[in-house]
Amino acid sequence: MSVRHALLALLSEGPKYGLQLREEFEARTGEVWPLNVGQVYTTLQRLERDGLVESDGSADEGPQKGFRITAAGEEELAGWLRTPPDLSSPPRDELVIKVLVAARLPGVDVHEVIQTHRRYLVQLMQQWTRIKEEDDGHDVALGLAVDAELFRLDSVTRWLDAADGRLLRAAAEGPPPPAATPPLPPLRRRTGMRHSARHG
């Protein structure tokens, strides 16, 4: 979540005070992402340093200090809205790795491992759905934010279902010839590459 661009978006509606920005940010994201006041001011200072917002210099630092967006800020916001987030490279998914490891480890029931994660995910989804339900469908921002979380968690449970089925079929067909076993080293190499790329 880009707090920086969310603040620019709020300021593109007109000048606002720091405290007001924090309240509006939380309201617009359905209060799903709580924001501390320090985060708001640090971000505003950086935006000002980069020439994307201006403050009325007269007031002291604090909740009553006013901010407005600059032309450069408007441009930055327009560019950000249309820039696709990085979804192209697969994330280093801890759950995938756990299931891959469980599938190969002797004495471990991979289906039991899968069910443990499935139960946890469904419980999380129950909690999000309860929030959506209690709102009664009136808060559109909350509905959007909760749906995003539900669809994300849902996709993970679907992958677990698919993995469960694939492993059952594989077991029913008997042990594959050694050459057909998916090799683990490429996975390590790939995650290693990403790891070093992130720090490099």
Partner: protein, 237 residues
């Protein structure tokens, strides 16, 4: 108060080499006002569980109690009266009659049970209004959206004094917003004291339930702990 109880329910189809053990000792209890979702892969016994809970099929062994009454001790006519008066079913494909309005569809189970037409219509209107569909009462099924049709089907399933709602993938063919509307309605029915069992493979649908039971190879293999919505809104460690 438990509205539905399954004790060690076993269901075997066929015998010898073609024998299929659909349920292998299922225990389940659903209280009045509660919604339980049953999840599991195809072939896990979900639909068999629902038909046995609704007395549409008999278990090979084990006991089913609806509102405290054991089905095994009921005569055929007692069971069909139970199905007409106490149990409501909802399927994925609505099953509304095209020639009847929403209100007439909802009133139909009562009329079939011998309730006078006027009284049945009044009860039908009442449940449609209760569940937020009062303004759709005089429309025919083809004048309703898919989501509205399914909500009418739920109203029909809980009309009168029906206290056990059994649903098989009730929002399976609907988009997310309509699926939400359907599940809100199941919740509204539960708030009136109805016990609901929803069978599904869809985690989003199941997440509306108070409790999610996982079925595997004809057995309850796992279930969720009670939900705590507060834990999501407080920042984690």
């Amino acid at each position: 108060m438990s509205m539905l109880q399954l004790h060690d329910v076993v269901k075997v189809y066929g015998e010898g080499p073609t024998e299929v053990r659909a349920l292998r000792g299922v225990n389940l209890s659903v209280d009045a006002g509660a919604m339980v979702a049953v999840m599991g892969p195809s072939g896990s016994g979900k639909s068999t569980l629902l038909t046995i809970a609704g007395s549409l099929e008999e278990p090979t062994s084990g006991e089913v109690l609806i509102d405290g009454a054991p089905l095994r001790q009921m005569s055929r006519s007692e069971k069909s009266r139970l199905r007409r008066r106490t149990v409501g079913y909802v399927f994925q494909d609505f099953n509304l009659l095209a020639g009847l309005t929403a209100a007439e569809n909802v009133a139909l189970p009562l009329e079939l049970d011998g309730v006078a037409a006027r009284k049945a219509r009044a009860a039908g209107m009442r449940v449609l209004k209760d569940l937020g569909l009062g303004d759709r009462a005089s429309r025919f099924p083809d004048q309703l959206s898919g989501g509205e049709r399914q909500r009418v089907a739920i109203a029909r399933a809980v009309v009168g004094d029906r206290r056990l709602l059994l649903a098989d993938e009730p929002s399976g063919a609907l988009d997310s917003a309509n699926g939400d509307a359907v599940m809100r309605m199941v919740h509204a029915a539960c708030a009136r004291g109805v016990a609901a069992v929803v069978v599904t493979h869809d985690a989003q649908l199941a997440s509306w339930a108070d409790r999610v039971v996982f079925l595997r190879d004809g057995r309850v293999s796992d279930q969720t702990a009670p939900a705590d919505p507060e834990s999501l809104l407080t920042p984690g460690p």
